[in-house]
Amino acid sequence: MGFKFVHAADLHLDSPFRAVSADARLGELFRRATLKAFSRIVDLCLRERVQFLVIAGDLFDQKDRSVRARLVLRKELSRLDVAGISTFIVHGNHDPLSDDGGATAFPSSVKVFGACWDEALVLQEGRILCRVQGISYPHERVTEDLSPAFRRQGPEFTVGVLHANLGRNTEHENYAPCTIEGLASRDLDYWALGHVHTRCEYPLPGAGIAVYPGNPQGRHIRELDERGCVLVEVTDGATDRRFFPVDAIRWHRIQVPLTAVTCFEALEAEIEDQLDAWRDSFHDAHVVRVELLGRGSLRQELTKPGALASLEEHLRESLLAREPPVVLESVRDLSRANLDLDAVHAAGGLGASLVTVAKIAKSDRKAFEALWSDPELHRLEAAIRRATVSPLMSEGASLIDRALVQALELLQEDALED
């Protein structure tokens, strides 16, 4: 007997957008985006008359402390409850059980898995239609693999709901790390995973599949393009998966080669051309980062003090006037000198010395620390640590590379004539 369910994860309800200073007009749009995306997921469930909805963790961010997130969650799940659609929830690292406090009283059709493995049955006309298994995070930092607790309990279609980092994805915290082999060994039909915000699927050896639906609403520049949930249609044990975008605000990255433009007007026109492709009514707004590449004639203008900020300000205002509005996250100048480090090294002098010093700093811990021993830099590190901003040292190697490039650019003799 066939049935359908929706798999969503990482709702991060009422969580703020990163690096976007939305003005008062758009503030509410941005604040509502995650809530609207979830509402669209519920609409999809109702429209497709699914059997149940699975939410694989991170329903909200504990640190957001949002009352609205809880109330909206309860309200939307009540809609499903009224329609007779069950909901299965596990908690992830952002909304672990320890912080929940049992405050959110869900409707009776909602099953929230606890810190121990549990299985719930989906019945239809008295027969077991499907089995849903899940484990919630008891606290934020779960470093052990939770997947071994899952096991097939019957011949029926079995879904495992887990918030986990499959295959040590370095872009996310390595919580509940698991492997494809580990998941395959549990003999489940469908792994409804959460945690990784980018949609992807992992066919498991033998049978079964592990799916990350991604988060339904991107919140920063690394969460680009369409975001949504997966509608799974099960027929005779086989799954047909369709992705449905539900995001209310979409993130984009626009790359403009400076070689192709000769003036700011042309640069703006190029950006507008790329933006024209996104005129739709589905989205309340778009957020965009503009990256300038190459070394065209405009570069000299852009390197003048304040020029980039001025361009950014101008673009921000003009893009905001579009319909739907486009919010400029930032303009990044990625146009670098064509540096051949080997050639610089071979030329000798201070340039060669610089390349050598940077190389040593990256490879030698002591040299690295000596380079970072700048007291001002230490003070900044301490200050941003106090302000709970992510530390810089973790990005050390890449920062040294960028510092080397900047130093060489500054010391370039021809720069004198700039």
Partner: protein, 854 residues
């Protein structure tokens, strides 16, 4: 570049001073306070701007505008550089060629190879003060960087690069500053985080409050129920109290009624003795009643008998007065009515006969009178009526006819002659006609009179016959009357009445006899009745006396017995009435007492029930205890209710506060805005911190690279400095160098290879070391850029003569490529300079007019 001429309009003590300089070695010689340092400051000021107002080296002249100019000979041409005081403290720079053409001010910067004022002051135009310290020269900054940059391959932009990195990094972050961008953002972020911390864990608080609200609502409900319960209990206790009061009252009433009943009982016994029983008193009452009924008769018996006697005597007198031969006994036997009827009949006939006679006489008189009348009328009617009935007397008719005739004749004379016969004819005709009419009327009247006389004769005959008839009727009536009078006499005689009286009087006599007879009859009846009453009265009196005797009374005569018996019975009746009333009252009192008892029982039952319900059942044994306990309990309840109300009020207030909080938090967007802003700031700070780190790391890399380069390969300037120092010290020291870990320290090695720090050297030798270093920089600088003039303000004063000579020698050598301008106040040094071909200029203490040159 070299300075060919200087011209001071006003600067410090100088006014309108002009000097021409040689292209190589120049020496200004003058005593102390001649203005050597002023002149050094003037050159610096024209090239780099005046010092800040108020600074010791600004040399603001009194009353004049600070200004002056230098004639510069540069690779790009010779021009005047003029600087004059302006609004800006640096003054205004103007460049012009000797022929007066204006040049852009940037030309001066080009000529100076864009070096900074600091580098110029430290390396190219310095005094003993600048010379004696290397720290400033070696300290991180433009001079140091310039020095090293001058000697490093590919490091020409090093000072610029480091300065740029330093500047831009400071705009991003400064550990002690607050205006840099990251500092601002961190401050902003700290504020938001502080606010977020103050807000706390909102969802936990929200749901805690919700739970609290639910608990409070449950508590409110429970307390409301408890309050109702308390109120019910209070009502019950109040009811107990009320019942207790009512019972007390009823008990008092019941006791009062019992007392009253006892008293009534006593009264009843007393009254029972006073009253006579009805069966016994009944014959007395009937005897008394019978006597009372006859009492009036009893009392009137004698009077009535006397009255009857008097009446009999009167009747006897009346009978005797009538003078008829009868006594009372006779009268009783006779029947007056029979006699009366016979007399009445005769009397009526007599009366009728009288009337008939009177009628006959009357009619006779009328007939006689009628006949007399007719007889008298006949003669009168035969003569009179004929003349009276004529229409008009004849003589009057003839007269009238004559008159008419005469009138006709007169009229005929009046008419014309022709008409007169006609008029006379008409008059005659009219008179004749009138006479004829009169005659006809008189004849009709005579005929009527004859008929009237005949009628009257017939009437007279009829009247005479009537008179005769009436005379006969009168005679018959008189005869009937005489017969009747005879009958009356015989009747009177038969009734033994006097014959002479009239029928009418006889009738009246018989009427009076009948009345007397009736009175006697009535009197006899009255006597009989009186006798009967007397008998009855005596019987009643006898019965009364018997009753009186039986009642134990002593009265012997009826009236007294009646009074005594009546009094006795009245007293008995009164006692009986009182008894009845007392019995009624007693019964009422007993009924009331019974009602009270029943009610008390009911109240007791109700009280017990309520007391059990109100929790004071234990105290039921005693009323006082119950009342006390009930009041005690009431007070407790009131206090509990008051407590409950206080708690309810406080709970309601708390509930209101919570609801307000919840509503606020549900709608509150502050937290979301704070979080959004926090994320934005974090991202922004991360970006900027990365930029800052890159800049700091870039600067660090450059410094490390420089040190590495210096360590691997001593820079050229150090080499030149070593040569210069060896030359100045006459070969005493062979080498000068710096170390990467002590970049602000110059080291010197003597001919034996011993290392000396600058501090370890004597002052003169240390100044020679520093001078060597500066001369090396100047030479090195000149190799890649336009040479700049070297201006030295009395720097050789601490040199011994040999080393001073070596120094002047070195300067003279250098001056081949770099113009050298030296100042001194020492004649020996002047001589030494002169010896080495210096162009010596004197500086007098006063201002010198134009072109006072050697």
């Amino acid at each position: 570049m070299r300075i060919d001429r200087l011209r001071i309009d006003a600067f410090g003590q100088f006014q309108r001073l002009e000097r021409e300089l040689g292209p190589e070695l120049n020496l200004f010689y003058g005593p102390n306070e001649a203005g050597k340092s002023t002149l050094l400051a003037f050159v610096r000021a024209v090239l780099f701007g005046f010092s800040r107002r108020g600074a010791s080296d600004r040399y603001e002249p009194e009353g004049r505008t600070i200004s002056g100019e230098l004639l510069l000979n540069t690779r790009s041409g010779t021009y005047w550089a003029r600087r004059a005081g302006s609004r800006r403290f640096q003054g205004e720079l103007q460049l012009r060629t000797e022929d007066g053409r204006q040049l852009p001010p940037s030309r001066l910067n080009d000529a100076l190879s864009a070096i900074s004022r600091e580098l110029f002051c430290q390396v190219f135009a310095f005094g003993l003060h600048e010379l004696s310290s290397f720290e400033e020269l070696a300290a991180e900054g433009s001079v140091s960087e310039a020095l090293f940059a001058a000697g490093m391959l590919g490091a020409r932009r090093l000072p610029f690069a480091l300065a740029s990195l330093e500047k831009s990094s400071k705009t991003l972050f400064a550990s002690r500053g607050s205006k840099s961008e990251i500092n601002n953002l961190l401050g902003d972020l700290a504020q938001r985080q502080q606010r977020l911390a103050a807000i706390g864990d909102r969802p936990r608080m929200y749901f805690d409050r919700r739970h609290e609200l639910e608990a409070i609502e449950a508590q409110l409900k429970a307390r409301a129920a408890a309050r109702r319960n308390f109120e019910e209990q209070r009502e019950k206790l109040r009811e107990v109290d009320r019942l207790w009061c009512e019972m007390s009252e009823r008990r008092a009433d019941r006791d009062t009624l019992a007392d009253k009943a006892r008293q009534l009982e006593f009264e009843k016994q007393v009254l029972s003795g006073s009253s006579v029983a009805t069966p016994r008193s009944a014959p007395w009452r009937s005897a008394l009643a019978a006597f009372d009924a006859r009492l009036e008769q009893w009392r009137s018996l004698e009077g009535r008998r006397a009255k009857l006697d008097a009446k009999k005597r009167i009747l006897d007198d009346q009978l005797s007065e009538l003078q008829v031969p009868m006594v009372a006994a006779d009268l009783a036997q006779c029947k007056p009515q029979v006699h009366q009827e016979a007399l009445e009949l005769v009397h009526q006939e007599l009366s009728q006969a009288g009337h008939a006679l009177a009628g006959a006489k009357g009619r006779l008189r009328s007939a006689t009178a009628a006949r007399d009348g007719i007889e008298q009328q006949i003669p009168k009617g035969a003569g009179g009526p004929a003349s009276s009935k004529r229409v008009l007397p004849l003589r009057w008719a003839a007269t009238i006819s004559l008159g008419v005739f005469a009138l006709g004749i007169v009229s005929a004379h009046l008419f014309p002659l022709g008409l007169r016969p006609i008029a006379l004819g008409i008059a005659f005709l009219l008179g004749a006609l009138f006479l004829w009419a009169q005659h006809s009327a008189n004849r009709a009247i005579h005929a009527a009179r004859a008929r009237n006389l005949e009628t009257q004769a017939s009437f007279l005959r009829s009247a005479r016959q009537q008179e005769l008839h009436c005379t006969r009727e009168e005679e018959s009536a008189e005869r009937h009357l005489v017969d009747l009078q005879l009958r009356l006499r015989s009747l009177l005689s038969s009734q033994e009445l006097p014959e002479g009286i009239s029928a009418e009087s006889a009738l009246q006599l018989w009427a009076r006899l009948a009345a007397i007879q009736q009175s006697f009859s009535d009197l006899a009846g009255d006597q009989l009745a009186l006798d009967a009453e007397e008998r009855d009265c005596r019987a009643a009196a006898a019965a009364l006396l018997t009753a009186s005797a039986s009642a134990g009374l002593s009265a012997q005569e009826p009236l007294g017995a009646a009074v005594e018996l009546r009094n006795l019975l009245q007293r008995s009746d009164e006692a009986a009435t009182d008894l009845k009333r007392t019995e009624h009252l007693l019964s009422q009192a007993r009924e009331q007492a019974a009602r009270h008892s029943r009610k008390l029982e009911q109240l007791q039952q109700r009280l017990e029930k309520l007391a059990r319900e109100a929790g004071v059942a234990e105290e039921l044994s005693s009323d006082e205890q119950l009342a006390f306990a009930s009041k005690q309990r009431l007070r407790t309840l009131d206090s509990q209710l008051s407590d409950l109300d206080d708690k309810q009020r406080s709970n309601a207030e708390r509930k209101g506060g919570i609801i307000k909080d919840l509503e606020t938090w549900e709608k509150d967007s502050e937290l979301a805005q704070l979080r959004s802003r926090e994320e934005f700031l974090r991202a922004r700070i991360t970006d900027l911190a990365e930029q800052y780190a890159i800049q700091r790391l870039a600067a660090g890399l450059i410094k490390q690279a420089r040190w590495r380069y210096e360590r691997d390969q001593q820079p050229r300037v150090i080499k030149i400095a070593s040569q210069q120092f060896a030359e100045l010290t006459g070969g005493r020291y062979s080498c000068v160098y710096t170390q990467p870990d002590a970049p602000d320290t110059l080291f010197a090695a003597d001919a034996q290879g011993k290392e000396w720090t600058a501090e370890q050297l004597s002052r003169g030798t240390r100044e020679q070391l520093y001078l060597s270093f500066r001369l090396a920089v100047v030479q090195d600088f000149a190799e890649s850029r336009e040479p700049l003039p070297l201006i030295l303000d009395d720097i050789l004063v601490n040199f011994d003569p040999e080393r001073a000579q070596n120094a002047v020698k070195a300067l003279a050598r250098i001056s081949k490529a770099h113009q050298v301008v030296a100042f001194t106040c020492h004649p020996a040094l002047r001589d030494l300079f002169q010896k080495h071909g210096a162009h010596v200029l004197s500086l007098s203490q006063r201002a010198v007019p134009l072109l006072e040159s050697a």
